[in-house]
Symmetry: C2
Subunit: 250 residues, 2 copies
């Protein structure tokens, strides 16, 4: 431990390039360096911090990846104009969500059907050829109350193992996570009035406001599954957060 480290205090045990990131981020967030402002050149910062250009470069590259600055050769680095607000939406599994509320979770399959893909199915899964699909509908309970109604389509061409699975006891969401570890997903979130089917499934009056989350999961370009989750509207909310520094960590 050198003397300078002891003096530094709080910021100790942070790498230099991370400290540079933090300080620049602070200046941008505080408005000291407003959008459009040109930050010092790498060599200038290197001199200020008494380090090499490579170290500064590492910091600047990180800031550029998180979208706080834009870098132009020969011109320098500039604070970016805030465009669209983007926020990170954490979509946890329903079981965790329910247990997070302190309720006991229960799963109940309502129906399961295997069939040749209809034109509706093909639209939802972006299928060109006519393959087979499995459709599962299920209920997720929080305590005695229905929490969420699930309607799911699984593309059998992508997940042939789904033909053997009844989903009587396992929720298709967590089952699929075992089969297909990582994927890209596309979500649509909307509010709808409950139709008669949904109303009876959720035991609410027809016409009630419900939050609907539709997710389409793909892997390497082909769609695996499409799911529509219908929540009892007033009792459920999604939370999304935006913090510039963690952008990296989606």
């Amino acid at each position: 431990m050198t003397v300078s480290q002891t003096i530094a205090g709080a910021n100790t045990e942070l790498s230099l390039h991370q400290r540079i990131v933090n300080e620049i981020e602070g200046r941008i967030l505080s408005g000291e360096w407003p959008p459009g402002h040109r930050l010092p050149f790498e060599l200038e910062l290197a001199e200020q911090y008494g380090c090499s250009r490579m170290t500064v470069n590492k910091a600047m590259a990180q800031l550029a990846r998180t979208g706080l600055i834009e870098r132009r050769k020969k011109s320098g680095s500039f604070v970016i104009q805030p465009h669209a607000q983007s926020a990170v939406l954490e979509i946890s599994e329903i079981k965790q969500e329910v247990e997070g509320l302190g309720k006991t979770y229960r799963y109940k399959r309502a129906s399961r059907e295997m069939r040749k893909a209809t034109s509706d199915d093909r639209a939802l899964l972006d299928l060109s050829a006519s393959g087979k699909v499995v459709e599962v509908t299920a209920l997720h309970y929080a305590g005695e109350r229905v929490f969420c109604f699930e309607e799911r389509l699984i593309n059998l061409a992508a997940v042939p193992e789904a033909a053997e699975e009844t989903f009587a006891d396992t929720a298709p969401g967590s089952w699929l996570l075992q089969q297909v570890p990582w994927s890209a997903a596309e979500h649509k979130i909307k509010a709808v009035a409950a139709d008669d089917d949904i109303a009876s499934a959720l035991s609410i009056p027809p016409g009630s406001a419900c939050l609907v989350v539709e997710r389409r999961t793909s892997m390497q370009g082909t769609f695996i599954t499409h799911v529509r989750l219908t929540y009892l509207g007033s009792s459920h909310e999604l939370v999304a957060r935006f913090t510039p520094s963690q952008t990296g960590q989606i």
Copy 2:
């Protein structure tokens, strides 16, 4: 242009460390390297790619930041267990949203009031001391139709300039973007049935399902503004995407 570059084809003009990121990402996404799998050591990868350890390190650091792998000294790097799905929700300004639909955008202020913060206001903005706030309600049109109803609170302690602004012609959202360039935000998304006020503002029958987005924007710990946007439910949907590679880019 060397011969090898010409042969490479599609992947040309990608930096080596980015190519390494892509290939490893592919193996993880395809399931070839399942969660928990230990990837080759930096030195092994360096040899495979015929490059230095630094280059591999850059790639691995990026994968670690995006949350695809976890790195442990002396042990190696491991594919991470899939936790919660997180998706990036792009929340653009309403004007852009409307124009993206090919409709003409129009803004109309409904009311504006400056007052000492009530206890409700203080709860929404996390105010401890009793300061002043401005409350603005406004309508956003898409063509002839109301698209969205806005109810906004602005913390005057954080943005004193708001006292002088009437918001008769400028939407508070875009105005605030000028004043407070960068910030963190927290969103809640839910479905509600329109009460009488909302119903008359949006000219829909009371009880209709509406999508509500509530956003609380903070800077350096203090809350700037709270806004509730009420959309005509069935006509509007939010879209969120998850792609592992871009996690960095919020």
